[in-house]
């Protein structure tokens, strides 16, 4: 098959990221900046970033920014963990603490609404902030503030539901903006530095445009042709790239329906290393050149390249990695901590191509077994306050 015969909605979303970056920033920067007051950003002593699925992943990706730029202790939790298992006293027993970001583009997900309601039920406590594209949604109404996301117009040209790449970028951008804002308001750096961080986000997304995206696209189509017979995939990361590994695995699941796992690269050496059918497990290692885990990643890459069909996604020099591995070299962000904003691009393209080459529909569209499952069970699940 030719590459363009395998075009798909996920690929179109991926190609739109560098295009949407600037208009999205222009539409959203001011509302994001003014979403929280100075006292609201000063008061909290800890942050919780809560979501389901991709939105949970956005929290994992943004956690290092809140800690590094905002100077605040931060946890990323699944909505289930926050709503049913996280100790009440850590949801709130003092004003404006923690600063609780609840992330959902739709704002309709039951478990997220439950988190907001649980925080409110704790009495004096968490300042809940809805990160959503729908400021009138139930989640936003259950929150005390809204970090609004206004998406830019987009039409993939395909009549298929695409894994939400643009909404993930938007959620992550909103969280990064809020972390930058917190550091700015707390005067951890000058306003000019904060503006430079904001500019760097847009410039990083734009650096994937044009020929860069075409080259990544060609490489991922070629790899998809080699990997199309595989039915299991593993994704390795460390630190901020754990979010990338998580998100990459999610795109494989959503696009192809194949089993995909993600793991911390060190844990992988202890457990997943022992996969028996190792020549048929497509394995992806994501590592940023600025990562403290870079040297360890080089060691793991040696093992991977010997055992597994391997893709390395990195902004480091490709020559550092074994010849047997496929290396997809990405542009570097000006600030290393911004890498998770875009470093999932190669696997998003790969996922879309694999789905087409395998002849499966994104999100199992058209398959009766999946249609009979009410897809809105995420939004109609019973809310319980425990």
């Amino acid at each position: 098959m030719k590459k363009l015969d395998c075009n798909n909605a996920l690929r179109m979303e991926t190609f739109d990221l560098p295009v949407m970056a600037r208009p999205f920033a222009e539409a959203n920067d001011k509302p994001l900046r003014m979403a929280l007051t100075t006292p609201q950003l000063f008061s909290p002593r800890s942050c919780l970033l809560v979501g389901c699925g991709d939105s949970y992943c956005a929290g994992v990706a943004a956690k290092p920014l809140f800690e590094q730029l905002g100077g605040i202790r931060t946890e990323a939790l699944s909505a289930m963990e926050a709503s049913r298992h996280w100790p009440k006293e850590r949801i709130g027993n003092e004003p404006c603490n923690p600063l609780l970001y609840v992330i959902s583009a739709s704002g309709n997900v039951s478990r997220n609404i439950e988190v907001c309601q649980r925080a409110a039920a704790c009495g004096v406590g968490a300042l809940t902030v809805a990160v959503t594209a729908h400021p009138d949604s139930p989640m936003a109404k259950a929150s005390q503030a809204v970090l609004p996301i206004s998406p830019t117009p987009f039409d993939s040209g395909f009549d298929e539901h695409s894994p939400g790449l643009r909404s993930y970028y938007a959620s992550l951008y909103a969280l990064c903006s809020s972390a930058i804002r917190m550091g700015e308001v707390k005067m951890r750096y000058p306003m000019s530095q904060a503006d430079d961080y904001r500019r760097a986000m847009v410039e990083y997304a734009e650096s994937f445009g044009g020929e860069v995206m075409e080259q990544i696209d060609d490489a991922m189509f070629a790899l998809a042709q080699q990997w199309q017979e595989f039915d299991s995939f593993e994704f390795l990361g460390s630190g901020a790239q754990m979010a990338t590994a998580w998100f990459d695995a999610a795109k494989i699941y959503e696009a192809t329906g194949d089993v995909a796992t993600y793991e911390d690269m060190e844990n992988w050496c202890h457990v997943n290393y022992f996969a028996r059918d190792h020549r048929r497990v497509g394995t992806v290692l994501s590592i940023s050149k600025d990562s403290p885990a870079m040297v360890r990643a080089l060691e793991v890459a040696e093992v991977l390249a010997r055992l597994r069909p391997t893709l390395i996604v990195t902004d480091a020099d490709a020559a550092l990695f074994p010849e047997e591995a496929t290396v997809c070299q990405l542009p570097s962000p000006r600030y290393g901590f911004l890498a998770p904003l875009m470093d999932y691009v190669p696997v998003a393209l790969l996922s879309g191509y694999l789905a087409r080459l395998k002849g499966v529909s994104l999100f199992r569209g058209g398959e009766p077994a999946f249609q009979s499952q009410p897809t809105h069970f995420l939004k109609t699940s019973q809310i319980e306050i425990v």
Partner: protein, 143 residues
């Protein structure tokens, strides 16, 4: 009118002496008798006077006095920027951003210990100062 501008690389809460630059500009203008107007076209800066011979760190006395009058708070109505910036606007309004000098005998007229200083109340930033020197003759109505 003779117009001059200088860039000032200001550290956070920096104080920069302008006295010698002002004297040079006035001499260069050739104006023998008139006035000079100094302006800092910013909203977190100010222009004021202090003894010119003080050690640079001594000028922080004025910054600290202003800090006591207008402390940095997180509840200013202006929240677009940061608390230091909000306080800086207040300090700038209080100190003022322009002043006028007498020019006589081709020289800037200052008291024996007077120095002219640019105060930044936020930063670090690159700021500007502008000077316009007018001759008496420019105010005379032509017959």
């Amino acid at each position: 009118m003779h117009f001059y501008e200088t860039k000032i690389e200001c550290p956070k809460d920096g104080v920069v002496q302008l006295t010698e630059w002002l004297r040079r500009c006035v001499r260069e203008s050739g104006v023998q008798s008139g006035i000079a107007v100094l302006s800092a076209p910013h909203t977190t800066s100010g222009i004021s006077f202090n003894p010119y011979m003080l050690k640079p760190e001594d000028h922080q006395d004025i910054q600290q006095a202003l800090d006591r009058l207008i402390p940095m708070r997180i509840d200013y109505a202006h929240q677009f920027d940061n608390p230091a910036d909000a306080a800086g606007h207040n300090k700038s309004a209080l100190m003022g951003t322009n002043t006028t000098f007498i020019v006589e005998g081709g020289e800037l007229v200052l008291g024996s210990s007077q120095g002219v200083f640019f105060f930044e109340f936020d930063g670090p930033r690159t700021q500007r100062c502008q000077l316009a020197v007018y001759s008496d003759s420019s105010f005379c109505k032509e017959e």
